[in-house]
């Protein structure tokens, strides 16, 4: 499979046909049966050094599960995750340990993700000790990290409860940075924060990426934030990627009906500045259950373009004759290029 980008780089992280299925009990039958939730169901992704890839989609589309199975917080059901060419989807916990240094995670909830009974210093020092880094100089390293994320280095003895939400998120970022990762998976890192604090954290992440060359997988539902922060975007629906490409392609020339609906639903500050309101595409109904997803194209039950073939054949995520080479769409009837307006 092709795995270099335009600049001829090889990806730092290659995800192929990744599946994460969870068994659940149902109430049918005397003892109850078992069903499978196909949260992530065959995803291919490439992440290049220093770039940011946005994962967008609505709740339940599998974007967080995808992030967690790439980083092996859950062991994927099937598929492959190559970090610089080495398989990490199937190896055991012990062999995984060196990879834990290379890939780190930032969580959404700045309250639930820090141990309230540990001081900030302990929280950030723990990963150093686990990996045997900065031996004998842990305190200095912790203080450097605190300064790096914009906190007062003197505060290493304080507890998380003494910090605001935005400051706690900075602590979580400092903890992730402690082991000098090459990839950070950030799961909704700013959505719990107030607007003015959100921008502070986004700018911090931008600086880390610029100064330290860290690559990000940025999981978010805020399409404006993703447009600002990311180089490329993958749109997920019901466990699959439906559209994938450079952000200007996806935002300005969305080709998949779901991407178009998603972008048209996002409220836009610019309408009040005289930008003509975009055409409103309103999806009907709810996202189907990932236990028993629709055959063929999973979006067909809510798609206004759906035809017989959409139920029979699953569309392949691929580039089109009239699309950029790295802009891929999984749809039997993607929007024609000339019909698209930049207003969307």
């Amino acid at each position: 499979m092709e795995s270099t980008n335009r600049a001829g780089q090889t990806p730092i992280l290659t995800v192929r046909d990744l599946k994460m299925h969870f068994p659940v009990k149902n109430n049918e039958g005397l003892l109850g049966g078992r069903q499978i939730v196909k949260a992530v169901d065959g995803v291919d992704l490439d992440l290049y050094a220093g770039e940011t890839l946005g994962l967008v989609g609505e709740s339940g589309c599998g974007k967080s599960t995808l992030g967690r199975s790439i980083i092996r917080l859950t062991r994927p059901t099937a598929g492959s995750v190559l970090f610089q060419g080495t398989e990490m989807a199937t190896i055991g916990e012990r062999q995984l340990r060196p990879f834990r240094r290379k890939l780190q995670m930032i969580f959404q909830d700045p309250y639930g993700s820090l141990n309230p009974r540990q001081t900030v210093g302990t929280i950030i020092k723990t990963p150093l000790e686990v990996h045997g880094l900065a031996k004998g100089k842990e305190k200095e390293r912790v203080q450097d990290l605190l300064a790096r994320v914009g906190l007062n280095p003197e505060h290493y003895n304080r507890y998380p409860s003494e910090f605001s939400g935005g400051q706690r998120q900075r602590i979580g970022i400092a903890r992730a940075l402690a082991v000098e990762p090459q990839v950070i998976i950030a799961d909704e890192p700013v959505s719990a924060l107030d607007v003015s604090i959100q921008a502070q954290v986004i700018n911090l992440l931008n600086a880390l990426r610029r100064d330290l060359g860290i690559a990000f997988i940025f999981i978010a539902h805020d399409l404006g934030v993703v447009r600002h922060f990311c180089d490329r975007v993958a749109v997920m629906y019901l466990g699959k990627i439906v559209e994938y490409g450079p952000k200007h392609e996806v935002y300005e020339r969305p080709r998949h009906p779901y991407t178009q609906a998603l972008l048209s639903a996002a409220p836009d500050l610019n309408v009040v500045r005289g930008v003509p309101p975009k055409e409103h595409i309103r999806l009907v109904g709810d996202v189907p259950s990932p236990i028993d997803p629709p055959s063929g194209c999973r979006f067909r039950t809510r798609c206004w373009k759906a035809q017989a073939i959409c139920a029979e054949q699953e569309p392949v995520l691929e580039s089109r004759d009239d699309s950029a080479q790295d802009h891929r769409i999984a749809c039997h009837f993607p929007a024609q290029l000339e019909g698209l307006t930049a207003a969307v």
Partner: protein, 371 residues
């Protein structure tokens, strides 16, 4: 309270200067008459740590058929001020001063029994979290039916029919079957629709929507905002939309009030506040938000954190975070509370800021940074 603040409060009680921006909705009778008049409202909570000044000297008015967005971050007082309209604060633990007139009736100081008659009937509130505002033990139909019977002396079957009608009106498919289901059987968007149905079942003239779409996905959010818009066009209700999301404000609001540290800092039509704002806090918000329809190279966050409502700084509450304090002579920002008044000629709203030339600063320094 100083006379100056009072004066500012009164001037704000009218539609802000600059001529009303045409409403996006068809006009209704009584468009110009204020249905809700909030005058010099303050809400304070005595606590062990001291007096929490959650809302101070807020004044605004709202005619039927119009939508006012109250914007602010956590702790800005945006929800607290609206809960006072619904009489939802515990009178034993809250000090409320000022006046709230709802369709000519005074709300402040009314008994809980009186308020129970007003709630639902005259004014309704839709909360952010439909999960916890519907009772898990009762069917959705039962909850709507009882909300109706609270204000109407009708039989259960008549009320049940009304409940099914309302579920249908808010776009819930198979309303008859759905009415017999429990909240957990509804999706998040469906639950929010059921909440809206319950809020509207007694035809209130004022709807307070407190972050009604924050917990929802964008496609569902768009459906709910459309629904509120349609219902307002149909019934001509006044809507207060409490939100932190300026993009939502741009889509739905006629008027906007920006709150900071318990006070209104900017107030005007949506266009005045979002396109020609005069307050540095509003500028800061606009520079912090990446828009979905345009590329923004850089975000310029507001430095620091919001103030504690227990110990607000003297003078302007925003002064400790404001990049423009040095443009005002004599350190006035740190000592004198600015009034909420019109600050510059032209089509601007009211602003609570000492800057003498906010217009020029916005055009030269802020506007180039947004969109």
């Amino acid at each position: 309270m100083s006379a100056a603040v009072n004066e500012a409060a009164h001037s704000a009680a009218h539609t802000p200067a600059g001529g009303p921006r045409p409403s996006r909705r068809p006009s209704h009778k009584g468009q110009d008459e204020a249905f809700l008049v909030v005058d010099d409202l303050s809400v304070q909570f005595p606590t062990e740590d001291g007096l929490v000044k959650a809302v101070q000297n807020v004044s605004y008015s709202l005619p039927l058929g119009r939508t006012l967005a109250i914007v602010g971050e956590s702790g800005s007082g945006k929800s607290v001020s609206s809960m006072a309209i619904m009489g939802l604060h515990d009178p034993k633990r809250t000090i409320i001063t000022g006046s709230i007139s709802l369709g000519g009736e005074q709300i402040v100081g009314r008994s809980q029994d009186d308020m129970r008659k007003i709630r639902g009937q005259v004014a309704s509130i839709i909360f952010q979290d439909p999960q916890s505002s519907l009772h898990p033990y009762f069917t959705v139909g039962w909850q709507l039916r009882e909300a109706y019977r609270e204000h109407h002396q009708v039989s259960k079957s008549v009320a049940h029919t009304r409940a099914i009608e309302m579920l249908d009106r808010v776009g819930i498919p198979h309303p008859k079957r759905r009415a017999d289901q429990y909240p957990f059987e509804f999706s998040g968007g469906m639950r929010q629709r059921a909440m809206i149905a319950m809020a509207l079942i007694n035809d209130p003239q004022l709807i307070i929507a407190d972050e009604p779409t924050t917990a929802l996905d964008v496609t569902v959010q768009a459906q709910i905002l459309d629904l509120l818009n349609d219902l307002q066009a149909e019934f001509g209700s006044a809507i207060i939309m409490i939100t932190h999301d300026l993009a939502v404000v741009a889509e739905v609001a006629d008027d906007v009030m920006v709150m900071y540290g318990g006070r209104a800092v900017e107030h005007g039509t949506a266009e005045q506040v979002l396109v020609r704002p005069n307050h540095p806090y509003t500028w800061g918000l606009l520079q912090s938000i990446p828009a979905v329809s345009s590329e923004q190279a850089e975000l310029y966050p507001i430095k620091g954190n919001p103030p504690s409502l227990l110990s607000l700084p003297p003078g302007c509450s925003f002064a400790p975070r404001c990049p423009y304090v040095d443009r005002v002579p004599d350190g006035k920002c740190r000592t004198d509370l600015p009034e909420l008044i019109s600050r510059s000629a032209g089509d601007h709203g009211l602003s609570r800021c000492h800057l003498s030339n906010p217009d020029a600063i916005f055009a030269a320094e802020v506007e180039p940074r947004i969109a």
